[in-house]
């Protein structure tokens, strides 16, 4: 049975059991859209360099597999060492006993989607499905139709969440191939602030396909730090679509670290719907073996006087490939836009490759936009300098690579986490 048939069967099953309410209608609508759009193919310009074909022949199970060693897995994670609110999802379903909310202010909601849909229906319905497009994005439609569960975070006006919120996704493919579709909804109201870490780890030798959708809404004068850590090992495929919707005077600091995974596609889409927004996008991808990482970012400057700064760095080893596609879209009348974008890559092996596409689309005249991409090796002069001070070549190389990568890790504004991540990066290199 193909993946597509598999999915159809799953939806039919769901349809029979589901209550026919508004939520069902949204999902039904999304499924219709998915049936029309299907999986993207390389003929689609946005998927030119990332081929999903290998997925179509794998038989995935969209069931919640009980994991035996979740606890062990979690304890090994660097995220376990920091003081944080934790929501744990195992193969897409919420694990309440492993989750732990330490936030004292009870007006701040940190829970799972399934329960929020009932307990916080008004807020949920106001925001759910409002930002992530289903009409044009097949995989978004698929997630909307068949999503499992995920985090629901609501920070009311003027509230500051004291400790980071960790959304820990554990994918356990030790028993069988797993398909799971997490869905997170994050709402930061006016003048509020939060730090959210979205993390993926995995276990087992079977294949997994994680198809994530994040919808994030940040209201006026609010601030959000959003960090994504991708560390799934084994035969893991992930498509992650994150839609961030910003109102006026907001700042979003987003860092995406992709340290592992057979095939990872990150789609990050910022939409600035008010003046004086700041969008900061930082990414690091370290690829090895035959892995493939594709970072697709898009920043929509829809209103005047906004600022965006993007820096993505990649280190490619072995036979791996990486893709960077960054688009800055300056809309008509979005005057006084300042948008900067850079993509820097280092290829470490004869058989690694990189495809990069930094794009600008500008419809307003009073703007300052620059973008650039570089592909190169370590700086020979720096290398020589270090060696002339007695540092062995191998060590000098590692030192320079670490320095290259750490610039991104340091954009994570949780100092105790940065140090741990830097160790992990160092091990990767």
């Amino acid at each position: 049975m193909s993946l597509l048939e598999n999915i159809k069967q799953d939806f039919n099953q769901y349809k029979e059991q589901a209550e026919h309410d508004a939520f069902f209608e949204t999902r039904k609508h999304a499924f219709d859209a998915f049936e029309k759009l299907g999986f993207p193919t390389i003929k689609n310009e946005e998927w030119k360099y990332t081929n999903l074909k290998p997925l179509s022949d794998i038989l995935f199970h969209n069931t919640c597999v009980k994991s035996i060693n979740t606890e062990a897995l979690l304890s090994g994670s660097v995220l376990n060492t920091i003081t944080a609110n934790r929501l744990v999802f195992v193969n897409g379903s919420f694990n309440e006993s492993l989750s732990n909310i330490i936030e004292k202010d009870k007006s701040i909601i940190i829970t799972n989607i399934a329960s929020a849909r009932k307990k916080h229906q008004v807020i949920f319905e106001k925001h759910f499905g409002k930002y992530a497009k289903t009409e044009t994005e097949g995989l978004n439609a698929l997630n909307t139709a068949l999503m499992s569960d995920g985090a629901f975070i609501h920070v009311p006006s003027n509230k500051i969440v004291e400790h980071p919120i960790v959304i820990m996704n554990v994918i356990d493919a030790s028993e069988m191939n797993v398909l799971c579709q997490p869905r997170n909804l994050i709402i930061i109201e006016k003048q509020a602030s939060a730090k959210v870490i979205e993390s993926y780890i995995s276990n087992g030798n079977n294949a997994s396909f994680t198809n994530v959708v994040n919808e994030i809404f940040v209201d006026e004068h609010a601030q959000l730090h959003h960090y994504k850590l991708q560390r799934q090992t084994g035969e893991s495929y992930q498509n992650n679509y994150t839609q961030l919707y910003q109102e006026a005077n907001t700042t979003i600091n987003q860092v995406t670290l992709t340290l592992d995974g057979t095939m990872v596609r990150n789609n990050l889409h910022f939409y600035m719907n008010g003046e004086n927004c700041n969008s900061l996008l930082y990414g690091l991808y370290i690829t090895s073996q035959k892995n493939h990482v594709d970072n697709h970012t898009r920043v929509d400057h829809a209103k005047p006087n906004c600022f965006s700064n993007e820096l993505y760095k990649g280190i490619m080893k072995d036979k791996s490939t990486a893709v960077f596609n960054g688009k800055i879209m300056v809309h008509l009348d979005a005057q006084k836009t300042n948008a900067y974008q850079r993509n820097q890559n280092i290829l470490l092996s004869d058989e690694a490759s990189i495809n990069t596409k930094p794009q600008l689309e500008i419809f307003a005249d009073d703007v300052k936009c620059t973008h650039g991409a570089t592909i190169g090796q370590l700086n020979d002069e720096q290398l020589f300098y270090l060696r002339s001070r007695g540092i062995p070549e191998h060590e000098a190389r590692t030192m320079l690579l670490n320095a290259f990568a750490d610039e991104i890790a340091e954009m994570i504004k949780i100092p105790e986490l940065v140090a741990l991540l830097e160790d992990e990066i160092s091990n990767k290199l």
Binding site: E45, M316, L332, D333, Q335, N345, L347, L348, S349, D350, E351, A352, S353, I354, N355, T356, K357, P358, Q359, L360, E361, I362, F363, A364, D365, D366, V367, K368, C369, T370, H371, G372, A373, T374, I375, G376, Q377
Partner: protein, 481 residues
């Protein structure tokens, strides 16, 4: 420098000045496209059988293809049955000298500032003039012959140098390459052919001047330039067309081949009729241009100044096959009113130690859209490839668009590739500063734009640089209210 100012002084007209038509008796094919039309064109040109076969093969392949849709603009579907694929001035006898050319035609080229007659020989540029579907005259043939340089129309080359045409035509742009290349291969009417023998530095600039005149016709010419080992040639092309209300299709092919240590410099000043302020009429300029750096240390350099056409859609490219070969692309594209340009280049690094450089300057005014699209590809075995791309856009007015789509595909870890791009507007401060020194706003814009494009304009041979600067100023007139 001094010229630059004179030029701006000379620029007084607001309208497209090449918009006149020539009344001359024409020999045309019936409207539409079919196998019969392909045979008709081939017969008209008295072509050898192998050429007809080549055309028919291309035609059959074209029938199986779809028009591309990935471009960053829309245009109404072209009805290929509504186009005349062949139009030529009636020709009673075979021309032996320029004296036998229809005086009406000579006058047309005089008006365009292209002299085919003897007295202008001092300029030192050999010209091949193509009027609608055929080559009218090629100057300086004899002098070139002494050096062994072949410069003639492609129809002539088919008869006189079939071995060269057979070997090279379609070797860089295969008939199946893309929709418009296949179409051209089936119906091309004429064009220029250049062969520079081993060790020869072509003693003068070679130039082709293209003119569309007839109504409802498409122009499908092809240019083939071969530079043999250790040779050098600089080639220029210019183009104009009358003002007509309907769009006209120009789908040309240019193929360049540079052997060991050879260098080809190809410059274009494209000024096809751009259509009126509302976007009525104008040429669809859909062209495939590609150069093959076949030999070791060969070099191909494209320079283009694109100011005309309703839509300009082309990517002059270099295949860097020879080790140590070099590809360059220098481009200025100006769009105003409703014009569209989707242009750029492809640099394909195959050989070792290959280098490429891209400098693109896009200027958009009015309601126009200007897109840079470029590919830098480094193949697996292309050790130590280097590329530097600089891609700048300037916007004039707040209803135009500038778009940049660079594709960078790197499969070798020794590559060093850098892409830089920026977008800016003409600053009010800059204009006021010029005003304060007594320079009016239109002149100030001309000055600033020419400054912005300096790096590219410097690549053009003197003759063309002058024309190009004039054009930049003219195309932007009326862009600031």
């Amino acid at each position: 420098m001094a010229e630059e100012l004179d030029i701006i002084d000379q620029v007084t007209q607001q309208e497209y000045k090449y918009g006149f038509t020539t009344n001359i008796e024409m020999d045309t094919a019936p409207k539409g496209l079919s196998e019969d039309i392909v045979r008709f064109i081939s017969a008209k040109k008295n072509e050898p059988e192998w050429m007809l076969e080549w055309r028919l093969k291309a035609y059959k392949h074209w029938l199986t293809m779809d028009e591309p849709e990935w471009q960053n603009f829309k245009y109404p579907k072209i009805n290929y049955q509504d186009i005349i694929f062949y139009a030529a001035p009636k020709e009673k006898i075979k021309l032996n000298s320029l004296n036998e050319v229809d005086p009406e035609l000579l006058k047309t080229f005089e008006k365009l500032g292209i002299s085919l007659t003897e007295q202008k020989r001092l300029t030192g540029v050999a010209v091949d003039a193509v009027f609608d579907s055929v080559s009218i005259a090629t100057t300086f043939k004899d002098q070139l012959k002494e050096k062994g340089v072949i410069f003639c129309s492609i129809s002539e080359a088919m008869h006189e140098h079939p071995e060269l045409v057979k070997k090279y035509m379609g070797s860089v742009v295969p008939t199946t390459d893309n929709y418009f290349a296949a179409l051209n291969s089936a119906v091309f009417s004429d064009g220029s052919f250049v062969y520079i023998p081993k060790g020869v530095r072509c003693p003068m600039e070679l130039s082709t001047y293209f003119r569309i005149n007839a109504e409802n016709t498409g122009q499908f010419e092809r240019t083939l330039i071969i530079a043999d080992d250790d040779s050098y040639v600089s080639y220029l092309e210019g183009c104009t067309a009358p003002m007509r209300d309907e769009h006209q299709l120009h789908a040309a092919i240019v193929e360049l081949i540079a052997h060991d240590n050879a260098e080809i410099k190809y410059s274009t000043v494209q000024n096809w009729y751009p259509g009126d302020k509302e976007g009525k009429g104008g040429i669809y300029n859909f062209v495939t241009k590609r150069g093959m750096c076949a030999g070791v240390k060969s070099k191909i350099s494209w320079t283009q100044v694109e100011t005309g056409s309703a839509i300009t859609w082309k990517y002059p490219s270099c295949i860097l096959k020879g080790d140590y070969s070099v590809g360059e692309f220098f481009s200025v594209a100006v769009t105003n009113n409703r014009q569209v340009a989707d242009t750029g280049t492809k640099m394909i690094h195959i050989g070792k130690n290959t280098r490429s450089r891209i400098v693109s300057k896009g200027i958009s005014a009015g309601k126009s859209h200007n897109t840079y699209r470029g590919l830098v590809k480094v193949n697996k075995k292309a050790e130590k490839a280097r590329n530097h791309t600089q891609c700048d856009s300037m916007l004039i007015g707040d209803r135009s668009g500038a778009h940049t789509f660079p594709y960078i595909e790197i499969n070798n870890h020794t590559a060093q590739v850098e892409h830089e791009a920026s977008t800016s507007k003409i600053g009010e401060d800059q204009i006021f500063y010029c005003n304060q020194r007594g320079i009016g706003t239109e002149e100030a814009i001309g000055l600033i734009v020419n400054g912005f494009c300096r790096e590219v304009l410097n690549q053009l041979p003197m003759e063309f640089a002058v024309e190009a600067q004039k054009l930049l100023a003219v195309s932007l007139e009326g862009s600031v209210g």
